[in-house]
């Protein structure tokens, strides 16, 4: 099954420790095992742009609302046997400690 894993910042998580950030090993391990299809880090909310079309008019605004302390900092697309494997992959990601991860199944094409 294919899952989107959002990497989310979390003010209640542990303080970030750069020396304990094992992201390279995580990527290497899951790429090697074919469980990570694609993934990347994203620029912060300040660099985001919101686009809406209302009454035929395109409205472009800065960011989403910036007061939130929890924002999506990155993502990985996972290919796993089932949810338990996806949970195992997510739990090994350093941001499970320093933030949190949200694992969501893809909506299959045929449905």
């Amino acid at each position: 099954m294919r899952y989107m894993m959002f990497v989310v910042t979390d003010p209640e998580a542990e303080e970030y420790v750069a020396s304990e950030d094992t992201i390279e090993e995580w990527v290497e391990e899951n790429d090697r095992r074919g469980r990570r299809v694609l993934g990347d880090r994203l620029r912060p909310v300040e660099d985001a742009t919101t686009v809406r079309v209302r009454g035929g008019e395109t409205i472009v605004t800065d960011g989403p609302f910036a007061e939130t302390k929890e924002w999506i900092a990155g993502f990985d697309i996972l290919e796993c046997e089932d949810l338990d494997e996806a949970i195992e992959v997510a739990a090994a990601h350093p941001m499970a400690r320093f933030g949190r991860l949200e694992v969501r199944p893809f909506w299959p094409f045929e449905e």
Binding site: M1, D82, L83, D84, E88, P105
Partner: protein, 424 residues
């Protein structure tokens, strides 16, 4: 249809009883195996339901088969095959042939008993998966494994049937959509998941124990018994079963003739179920021999000390306080601290208990057992007026009518102030 109809026709009541007994022994097994083979939770439950409905009419007409379990398995298998044939489309043909073969092997009894046991274990772990909300885990466990109807589950948890039905639909949908596996976790994951399963079972038990008149406590014991049989090497499972049996042994003595709860001191101990106590103690001892103590074993040990005291004044409070200390090391919780305070009040006198409760009170703001415990300790100190005031505070916070009446009765017993609600 296979099965061996007995020649003599039984009465309506006999048929109902036979179907009810088969429901208890075979529902979970049939649903569990249908889910594994077809991967379809709704289909599995519907087919099992139809098989039992068919049994009600057929057994009434032809007599109860000699092997009701086999009869029901065949009936459920046939329902499943019918449905799959009707729903069949080219895309699913190949997969379906495999499913049909497995269904046949199952109904013909070619599967090993261990497969069937494994199916039920898988079902328990899937129903209790942490990715499902807690209320859905409880509801799904009851509906799928014990076969309680949606209306019965809704009644036990005091919610509308429609809402309960929605909860079950959402849970089944999430299992499918999110890819929650139908599997007993292995290795380290088993250790991580088992406490969640035990928590669901204990929640079922306490819900059945909390005054709502229903059979949840019995169902919880039955399920835990099954789990303990399937996982004999897990002492916490055995410990939980012991805890339930020891607590349940007092069921008949817990309330007076008008439904007001009785304290341990007030209960008539001759009403306690000796067989349940003996079994609970034996299970606890076998669990403790593995030397992997855990929260349920410790709570069971406390319950065993109460159960084994011939009279309230013979209770070994010193050991109970020690066990609470061990429990708190593992599971720090203000509610357990409150229970410990009661035990300290019995061991070192009410003033010592009261001091602990006073210090705890801010952590348990709004919890009715805080003023109720203070009241009890004040009563024993002879401070009747303060005790009355605390019982009144407890009445204002108590969640059930029975608990309010318990406090009201205590106020009457103090003689001082008048009770808000006197019992006849």
């Amino acid at each position: 249809m296979t099965g061996d109809p007995a020649p003599d026709s039984v009465g309506r009541a006999g048929v109902d009883a036979a179907v009810a007994a088969a429901y208890r022994s075979d529902w979970g097994r049939i649903v569990a195996t249908l889910i594994r083979i077809t991967g379809d939770w709704s289909l599995a439950e519907d087919c099992a339901q139809e098989a039992f409905e068919l049994a009600l009419t057929r057994w009434g007409r032809d007599g109860t088969p000699r092997t009701p379990g086999a009869w029901l398995t065949t009936a459920a298998r046939n329902r499943a095959i019918d449905r799959l044939r009707r729903a069949s489309s080219e895309a699913f043909k190949l997969r379906e042939i495999g499913i049909m073969d497995e269904l046949d092997a199952w109904a013909d009894g070619h599967e090993h008993d261990t497969d069937i046991e494994d199916d039920r274990l898988r079902l328990i772990f899937t129903c209790c998966h942490p990715a499902l909300p807690l209320d859905a885990r409880v509801a799904l466990t009851l509906r799928t494994i014990t076969g309680l109807s949606t209306a019965e589950i809704a009644g036990a948890f005091l919610v509308q049937e429609q809402a309960m039905s929605q909860r079950l639909v959402r849970a089944r949908r999430k299992i499918k959509n999110a890819g929650i596996p139908y599997r007993v976790p292995s290795g380290q994951l088993l250790g991580e998941r088992l406490p969640g399963v035990l928590a669901v079972l204990y929640l079922l038990f306490t819900q059945g124990y909390s005054g709502v008149p229903n059979e949840l406590a019995d169902e919880a014991i039955r399920l835990t018994r099954l789990l303990a049989r399937l996982m004999p090497d897990e002492p916490e499972v055995t410990g939980l079963l012991a805890l339930m049996l020891l607590q349940h042994s007092r069921a008949a003595a817990r309330v007076d003739g008008t439904g007001v709860p009785l304290s341990l001191e007030e209960q008539d101990r001759s009403w306690w179920d000796r067989a349940a106590i003996d079994e609970g103690v034996a299970l606890l001892e076998s669990a403790l021999r593995r030397r992997e103590p855990g929260g349920y074993q410790l709570q069971a040990a406390i319950a065993a000390l109460h159960a084994q005291a011939a009279a309230a004044e013979h209770t070994d409070w010193a050991q109970i306080v020690q066990l609470y200390d061990q429990l708190l090391l593992r599971h720090p919780s203000p509610v357990i601290e409150l229970n410990r305070a009661v035990a300290v009040g019995m061991l070192d006198g009410p003033a010592a208990g009261l001091a602990i409760v006073e210090a705890l009170a801010p952590k348990l703001d709004g919890f009715y057992l805080v003023p109720a415990t203070q009241a009890e300790l004040l009563r024993r100190l002879g401070r009747a007026e303060e005790a009355t005031e605390r019982y009144r505070a407890a009445i204002a916070l108590a969640p059930t009518e029975a608990e309010r009446r318990f406090c009201g009765k205590r106020i009457s017993g103090l003689g001082g102030g008048s009770a808000t609600r006197r019992t006849p």
